[in-house]
């Protein structure tokens, strides 16, 4: 049976945060699970906000890719991003006040130095209105570099607001 161990967590303070990073991730687990609840102080026209899931080997526009299925309350679509692992489960300032989106990202074999890295992501933005986002994603980091750091980066000039939280778990297969 898999065991989840909390590695580290953080809650954004009153000043907000441009990015949230977990560094020096121990290489002793089988998989990693990042859970976060977040909202940004900007909007690019939707109630949810583009964000990216970056790693040490794949910084912004570094060649990671995403395939995703998105439902927004009125339509369903699928699309891709060829440069980054895209997240839409973060609420923007256009969403109902004080709502935070939720994301679970699961990284398999993150410490391997022989396998490419993949991540599956389940996310929802929250909004007390018709338009909101639910998204399932598959992401690939096409390199065998072990993941030692992970960053959540809101697109452009958006900043995470106070009370956004992130938890990083290590999963052991025994």
């Amino acid at each position: 049976m898999a065991t989840y161990t909390l590695i580290s967590s953080v809650t954004v303070g009153a000043g907000g945060a441009s990015t949230i990073s977990f560094t020096s991730i121990p290489q002793t687990y089988t998989d990693l699970c990042l859970m976060f609840s977040a909202r940004v102080d900007a909007t690019i026209g939707d109630s949810y906000y583009n964000s990216y899931l970056l790693t040490n080997a794949f910084p912004l526009n570094g060649g990671a890719s995403t395939r995703y299925l998105l439902g927004n309350g009125s339509s369903v679509s699928s699309a891709s991003d060829g440069n980054n692992i895209l997240l839409l489960g973060v609420t923007s300032s256009g969403a109902t006040a004080s709502t935070f989106g939720n994301t679970v990202a699961y990284f398999t074999n993150y410490a391997s130095t022989t396998l490419n890295k993949s991540v599956s992501i389940d996310q929802v933005s929250e909004n007390n209105a018709t338009a909101s986002a639910a998204m399932l994603s598959a992401g690939l980091y096409p390199a065998n570099t072990a993941i030692t750091s992970i960053t959540i980066d809101p697109f452009s000039t958006g900043n995470f607001v106070q009370y956004s939280t992130a938890y990083l778990y290590g999963i052991s297969n025994a």
């Binding site: 945060a17 990073s21 560094t23 020096s24 690019i44 000039t157």
Partner: protein, 71 residues
């Protein structure tokens, strides 16, 4: 100015670090790039809608009739 948060998993230490001038410039460039991309998409969407409307008018059918033809 907003800081970035860095959590060192080996120590549990949480640091709030000011962005460098380079990082700030990168974020501003990204915003500018996205604004241009968004404007181009909106312009294309408007042009497509106009072309579609003109074609339907030329054919003398409604949008739902056109959908029926293609179903």
């Amino acid at each position: 100015m907003t800081n970035k948060i860095v959590v060192d998993c080996s120590t549990g230490e949480v640091q709030e670090i000011a962005l460098t001038a380079e990082e700030i410039a990168e974020r501003e460039a990204m915003a500018e790039q996205y604004a241009q991309q968004k404007a181009a998409e909106e312009a294309q969407k408007a042009a497509d809608a106009e072309a579609k409307s003109a074609l339907l008018k030329k054919l003398g059918i409604t949008e739902s009739e056109a959908r029926l033809l293609l179903s």
